[in-house]
Symmetry: D2
Subunit: 297 residues, 4 copies
Amino acid sequence: MQLGLVGLGKMGFNMRERLRRGGHEVIGYDPRPEVTDVPTLAALAAALDAPRVVWVMVPSGPITRETITALAEELGEGDLVIDGGNSRYTEDAPHAELLGAKGIGFIDAGVSGGVWGLDEGYGLMVGGADADIARVMPIFDALRPPGPREDGFVHAGPVGAGHYAKMVHNGIEYGLMMAYAEGYELLAAEELITDTQAVIQAWTNGTVVRSWLQQLLAKALKEDPKFVEISGYTEDSGEGRWTVEEAIAHRVPMPVIAASLFARFASRQEDSPAMKAVSALRNQFGGHAVKRISESG
Amino acid sequence: MQLGLVGLGKMGFNMRERLRRGGHEVIGYDPRPEVTDVPTLAALAAALDAPRVVWVMVPSGPITRETITALAEELGEGDLVIDGGNSRYTEDAPHAELLGAKGIGFIDAGVSGGVWGLDEGYGLMVGGADADIARVMPIFDALRPPGPREDGFVHAGPVGAGHYAKMVHNGIEYGLMMAYAEGYELLAAEELITDTQAVIQAWTNGTVVRSWLQQLLAKALKEDPKFVEISGYTEDSGEGRWTVEEAIAHRVPMPVIAASLFARFASRQEDSPAMKAVSALRNQFGGHAVKRISESG
Amino acid sequence: MQLGLVGLGKMGFNMRERLRRGGHEVIGYDPRPEVTDVPTLAALAAALDAPRVVWVMVPSGPITRETITALAEELGEGDLVIDGGNSRYTEDAPHAELLGAKGIGFIDAGVSGGVWGLDEGYGLMVGGADADIARVMPIFDALRPPGPREDGFVHAGPVGAGHYAKMVHNGIEYGLMMAYAEGYELLAAEELITDTQAVIQAWTNGTVVRSWLQQLLAKALKEDPKFVEISGYTEDSGEGRWTVEEAIAHRVPMPVIAASLFARFASRQEDSPAMKAVSALRNQFGGHAVKRISESG
Amino acid sequence: MQLGLVGLGKMGFNMRERLRRGGHEVIGYDPRPEVTDVPTLAALAAALDAPRVVWVMVPSGPITRETITALAEELGEGDLVIDGGNSRYTEDAPHAELLGAKGIGFIDAGVSGGVWGLDEGYGLMVGGADADIARVMPIFDALRPPGPREDGFVHAGPVGAGHYAKMVHNGIEYGLMMAYAEGYELLAAEELITDTQAVIQAWTNGTVVRSWLQQLLAKALKEDPKFVEISGYTEDSGEGRWTVEEAIAHRVPMPVIAASLFARFASRQEDSPAMKAVSALRNQFGGHAVKRISESG
């Protein structure tokens, strides 16, 4: 089928390619002339046959909001917009309402798989009305990995449910990565272990901890066995924070995912204000030496 | 090749079967007459051709220690013992020494895979001398999953390294399970999500969080979608505790795995003494009502 | 000076008494006839000499909002409202704006001290304009404990700063209580310790951990040495949740206060859905027995 | 009464002074000539009237062990040794046995108060036999703060109980400091708060979080309001690690104290190996940029 695709960055660019491989007609729009198929959003709308389906794949937050607002102008009755970015699920209802006022449908889609999705397919979690989702199913089927549909795609609930499921997915991802990372650090610290990479590699088949992330960790260690070239400075893109906020809102204890999030915050601090306070306290009561900044190299 | 196997419980029973399927001759000993091949440990030693190889697959702690002590009596120069149970790695050097005094070799082997190992193969992490390991390699190759050897087997280092690697493996396992569990609880608490099982099932292909544990969680939810029949009471078998203790010994921050361990401890308390103290404190300073035990149903 | 006081519950009732002991004229309003001085809010406004000062001491959330909205009707140009409840600081700017539109000033005041404040004085953290705060200083001085003003009172910043400081105060309080509680639980679990209460009592003078909470814990244990009559079920009143949310917004790692909050959430669950998932997983891969609900007593 | 005191460092030096102020005769031994009263341990033993009491106040671990072993040689039947250092409680029974073989009694004493103890008195937690403790009570009474004995002294149980109580005391101390430190960091990050020091100072009287540590934090901030001169690098001296290990041994959930300990470990890492692994993983699956070490300043 035919699809308009707004945003041809790391994710959107590959998705266009995968959809074309799947036999679909994709007209992509991106402000960068070297990747776009049409010069403007208006040109995109004009190039599509009504009723039109437009997939938005741009950074979450203001850019998504502006794009959907602009699409509400360009599209009309019977058209459909899919937000496939990492929007916070609370954005979805307002977007659906904005579009709905013009008779335009809305689906929120969480998309997982990163740079590997082009060849392996993307895991999809979507929210919206049954009829809207049925209409786009050929696109979802082309994007998702081969195999049973239910293993790579879920209609998670009404509008918002797709992004909610993706948010939780990413929160879990934080925890999984940190669990492997802690184990890696301990293995690397223990003299008995002669080859940390080989141990993690050997978990690929048969073990309880085997996973895609485990294989990627083995691969990363093969490329740089002690991570000498990689800093621990780690960004976060919102979903981890939102997951913990949702846990608080639902009174769900979430020690593991929260600890993983806090470790990212800490990784971006040159020095910890909290630990400065602890160090100052130890000095106050015990006369314990503090490391003075002025003494550091 | 020929192998003696002591301990035919949940793990050992299946391993005997997998090894026999692989064309090896296995003579098993277990105190339970209905599963054993020979009546006594002495009979096992007598039935094996020298130089003998005996795999010990019994509960860690005193039973392993007694078994190895008994084998030191039954076996002799040139024989080899493998401890495949979940022994703490600190037990390995003493066992190697005890056996070494009689000229008996020792390998420690961490074995992962649970009840699935029979058909899928077991992930193996072993510690010991090169020559000893080379000698048993046909057994390891029959136990491990098919595919490249390095994806399901590792010679992790000298005696102790196999159990160390397995300990860390299990510590990571605690963290992974808790990350999924927290995400599951949040999904189940959110009204937007119409089918928690379907969401987790849909992570099987293409997503970043796909893993064997994720598939097992989807499977478990299929059998009991709200876990109405399962209590949260969760045992721990030592490796998680040891992993955190090793982290402390190595000054490795380990918030995620420690939190997962503490959640298990808490799951086994009828009421939390610590939270009783918090509740009592709130009552003291704020006059906040406490829930009196005598008021409970 | 003269003060109107709305809300004569556990906190407001005692504050009226302390202010009267301090020589101030307090006219209190509360819907409960047995404690109120005037029959209605309108009667309160009428009974006060202009320019009027009214302290609001009611539950945070909708009731505070309604009370302030009603006061905006009853009061006028040059009057002043103080919100002394545990409102979220984000409520303060809207309240200030609502009142400011009528020429009414606004101060937000965090009040700590609980039931002990009547005799010992209340710790006060306030936000607002210098002139407004100067005007009410006699009231603050009467409410706060004796001693240097800066040890029991702070003008923390503009509108919102008082409640922000109080929120952080309460977040810290969660962490402090949990630290004592964990230590208590360990002492109580250790056979060497013959009298847990006596140990905690002995920390009152000279030790690094001496504090008011420590004394209250010793007192609580004196009344019920094993907390047999107290359930671990522990409510939270918002500030802990808000503190962790602010930490996330500011990218501040907050493992201790977050863990304390999650422990409260967990204390209110009959069984943990997350631990059910962990237990189910262990059963799936290891054939580990799960505790079936149907087997429980 | 008369007391021998071995170890005249930061703690022992002040304790000698406080005991002398209290009218006791103290003969101190320390290898440093500028502080010692006698040239050797043998000279100390010779200078004391039998039955002798010797207080050991040296670093825990090997130095304590050597000192007690040496004292077992120098002292005899009816004498008494007190270990007042921060020994792990598991050291106490062996020390008691070693000394007991010579008829020498043993008391373990946890001493809190740091550099402030000289003037304010030391909090004391002791373990041992009733008769031994009764004999040294005048010393304990001189060291402890004035006021009721039970507020600054406890006979916590048999040998080992004193150090156990002190260990838990210090574990709690870790948690308390971290709770204040997290709150401090959040206050300092929030623009509404104009003076973080003033807020923390204002908690001194009347609030729920008032404590000695809170006062020290206010004092430290007065000296260096943004801790510009203090590094977050924070040592730990054993008790925190041992407390978490004891929690594990007793299956006591201890999220807050463990998190405080892990934060200290992290404070001493130039970069986090675990976070390098997380960063490498994000790069692997998402093509997320990693901060390359070679790009850093």
